[in-house]
Symmetry: D3
Subunit: 247 residues, 6 copies
């Protein structure tokens, strides 16, 4: 089984890191391919960057379809391009916010989210509503560390994430979801520190994508998620449009 893990930004060290997290939880017969698109922002912390990451995500899905990939994970907590990717792919596609919320919801009655910058909390709230967890998600807090500073020792990401996780528990959450792919490697350590379940979306999406393939389940394609019509496409998207149409 091949799962393509798409890091929607172009920072290769982050692609490598989440690839390791995903491979650690995948089953013995599952190959996780962590990839970055050829175009897009270095990190994603705004709607603008999220929007501009989408063509690169779709490029990777189009390529994956031509190579026989079984399932996809979109590894940015805003779940950019998820609906479009579902139209393109034959197999299941999961976003890490989506998968992480499903996992967190299975651990009790409520969960909370700790994300990077305050400005991203609106999108997290919107996604919680979209997936059904508007009431289940009782708190969304930001540690105010930019994505690319998370692994900079000077940012004290660990300490600040732990502090916000505790605030989330105080708000009544049974579990905490980390709201950024860049926090994936903090997951177990933070969980041990706070004595409560801490969920990472990257690894959750990986095992759930593998689960759906084992269950022989994929996106329903009779309505909204049917393949998009073939149509004239002007300008810079034309390249991977062709790649996908050939798939």
């Amino acid at each position: 089984m091949r799962i393509r893990l798409i890091n929607p930004n172009t920072t290769q060290s982050m692609t490598d890191a989440i690839g390791r997290c995903a491979s650690d939880v995948a089953g013995p017969l599952t190959l996780v391919e962590a990839v970055s698109p050829s175009m897009g922002p270095a990190s994603i912390e705004s709607h603008y960057e999220e929007a501009l990451a989408v063509p690169g995500i779709l490029e990777q899905v189009a390529l994956g379809e031509s190579e026989g990939v079984d399932a996809y994970v979109v590894a940015c907590f805003g779940d950019p391009g998820l609906d479009a990717a579902r139209e393109l792919a034959h197999g299941p596609v999961l976003g890490i916010a989506e998968a992480g919320m499903h996992a967190a919801a299975m651990l009790g009655r409520t969960f909370g989210i700790v994300t990077t910058l305050e400005r991203t909390t609106g999108r997290a709230r919107e996604l919680a509503h979209r997936y059904g967890f508007g009431d289940v998600c009782v708190a969304i807090r930001a540690c105010e560390i930019p994505v690319l500073a998370l692994d900079d020792p000077r940012s004290d990401a660990y300490g600040r994430v732990v502090a916000e996780c505790r605030a989330v528990l105080d708000a009544g959450a049974d579990a905490v979801l980390l709201g950024c792919a860049g926090m994936a490697d903090l997951c177990h350590r933070v969980s041990d520190e706070i004595g409560a379940p801490v969920v990472d979306g990257v690894s959750s999406a990986t095992v759930f994508a593998e689960s759906l393939v084992r269950l022989r389940l994929a996106t329903g394609k009779r309505g909204e998620y049917a393949p998009p019509p073939v149509k004239a496409m002007t300008g810079l998207m034309a390249g991977f449009e062709r790649a996908w149409a050939d798939a």
Copy 2:
């Protein structure tokens, strides 16, 4: 990894059948133990039977805790006793309605449910709301075949389930969830017939329970789901109460 699959009713043939479905999807290193409780109803089609199935479910969880079970699946679509089981168990506990709804929600924007008797649709609706899928679940329909008649050829369960699945698709669902453990073995055949994803809760709960264990996640135990206080318990529950307290 040991997953205990609890059939909350006392019909052994059904326990065997769902055990096979679960084992088919479990990973190579996972042992699925399908069990029935020592007490309870022959099948569950009312709130009354659901309520009286709960002591037997808790008996099995208490036994499992004394035996080192890693995760539990409660295999009745009303998810009876789920909150209580989460208090008793150290590892994750999933209901098949819960797991099936999570799986179905990952396959598009909407899903619908096909269940046995009309009288069970209220509980299905309640669970959809509880888990966050009140708006995502766009239709709940009954085929009006009792649980224990599902595998009786004279009931034409297959034909009637197919008909109701098609009605669910017509209502705008991207995927269909089968609303009874006794329908588990119909899943792939119905899916092929209707050309849309059909989800079985038993196998979904099995792979998701396995997933949570691999992610090292379990029920949050700091609040609502902390172990229940040890307390005087009069009458017939006293036996397994002791078993659990000893675990």
Copy 3:
């Protein structure tokens, strides 16, 4: 008119106390029978205990049906077994959380709840949603006194309940609902102290049950709440199952 007030735990002093509260508000032609089941926990502060209280509740309803009882009150704030009891009974059945929430909602735009232990607030929130009061109920707070310590003078239950009631008012509630049958006798004294309406579920359920009988109203029995099918039942429930089937 006979109303059976079922204390789902086995603590007789509590049964006596709530019986007095209920009789005080019942009309002159109404007989309130306060009963405890033959089996179950000494008090209910967890999902586990709530689940194991249900067989005893159903036993009492089954007995009541054979004796011509007109209506039932289930006097635990988790409303355990309510749906199952409605299937068994011909007359109306009310839970004290349900009735208390209806009463509190009639006193303004919003209400709040003061309950015993923090771990029970999740169930209270779930019931508020179930009955329609998810937005109406603006606060749920716990005084952190166990049920059986409420009438122990050393617990200062009165002072701590008053403090939490005031916090509920500060959160914008027009009325306060006491979230435990064991607080019933505090109701008027707390109301006088805080200068706001304080609702007790036991007495509310009693007068509302009486009201429904006078209105000649009972549970609708054409669908979800029709009598449960007669079916093989193994083990310890067999006794009262027969009692009910004979009724």
Copy 4:
């Protein structure tokens, strides 16, 4: 105990009829005073008429306060002036839509409403949301008979109400609520015909108002429902404004 039952329209025969229905269910020590205001529309079937009925309702509450009335019922299914009446009155005030919805909600999981004209269904839906029953109320249907024609034999009100009640049951309701005070006397007959509980708001509000008084409960007056400030009032309301200020 004195309960003032306010018919917000000026049709005396309707006041008499609902007075009889209310007295039939009130307890032996309760006096029900059915009154009409001195001003207002002959019947209420629009927002315009509902708005113009409010001054008359408030006049009756102001008079009642000066006479020591214990509780009030506003007997129009749009619950006109309810919030304002709660500000004026010391005791509880119930609308018949409000009380009827509470009663209907106690009889199962869902209810539906049968009202007079289609144009009134929007207000009924709004009130269901306001009181928390937006999801509980699964159908609202109109028989298209004007209020004052309900007791005209040529309108076949009985037959058309029965037909709409059956449609409501088919939509999955456990109980039916009659959406007009003018239907109060049809209640038991329709219930017998359709074999399901049928709720009349007038009698429901009467017994619930009596219940609240017995529970010593009234509107919370610390916030939104505190007595309105005394203030200059120009023109035609000045008369009963003085009556209320003197009370």
Copy 5:
């Protein structure tokens, strides 16, 4: 184009002030007529006063219909009589809470409200739900200054409104809506002070009413908002009832 701006209270200085605010934003070809009714309260801070303001509002709409007015604005933040006014008028009718909420919602994901007295926040919350902004409106705060003291320099309305607006921003709002017509002239100054958009409902309703007329849009009149039936009306409303029927 003629827009009638109805101040529902009888304080002429307030009518003049909001008339200036509305004229400032209206297009060059639009005439804004600011009027007060002949009857009603001096200001509106309770449900009681709101209810008694409605006949005067309807009087003004009835007069406006006889004079060829194109659209109406009801300039009290409780939006009194809005549904009834829509039945009477041929053209669009907007409340200032309604219009202000629509405007505020267009400026980001969330907004908050700063109103006069705490007792009015319940109605503001109710209207936010009614118009769809229950989740969008993240905070409602009161400055505790009565309407008629807003322009009294001793009340420091400006300072207290600014303080509450900042509290609303801290609660996560992208924009602030002023919850009283009497605050209209503070709008731009407060916005400059806090560095965030501040919305005034009076001017918003004026430009939106003008917009709807330009779009040739008006209230849908086929159902709920059809003209009310002509009917006997007793007492003090009879006067303007005739005025409207003649229109």
Copy 6:
């Protein structure tokens, strides 16, 4: 005042047509600039096409910012890129679904939508929820005519849109919203035919954008919609990224 009306697809005839509709309703001092992006799909009927239209929309906003544009309208009913555009622009930005829903909501209690292809209804439903109109929008129906065939006489767009509008009214809507920019010129003719208000999002967004500018209101920029951070951007977006950074 300059309003940039962005047609997110590259079909110039459609840009011209919506430019005419917008100019017809704009005030005399308002200049409407209808533009198409340099890249993107010929029409938008899938999530894939919507996603790939976003870079071109942002290009146009970036250009507009460098040219002093006062407000923007994104003229595709999926409101693609709206959040990102709000981050880039100083003035207000409106989507045509957003503006059309606000306009339709001002015309009664409920509205419905008539869109092109069934596959687009999921996004329309999602947007209705996002903007607060989840309950207000009572029906979404598709005429099953692709965008670019709407003005092909052989498609009978007029007849089929009228038929679906009537179905929307039958579902209880007070007004109908046309769910595609390509239907803008049908608006008044359909309204006359069905005798109910019919809303076009393009003209609604134009007058509302003009209204917001007159009210001196724009997107709140203190949180989620602050300008995006300047950051490395690889590949094809780099061009207009620079254009925007220079603005």
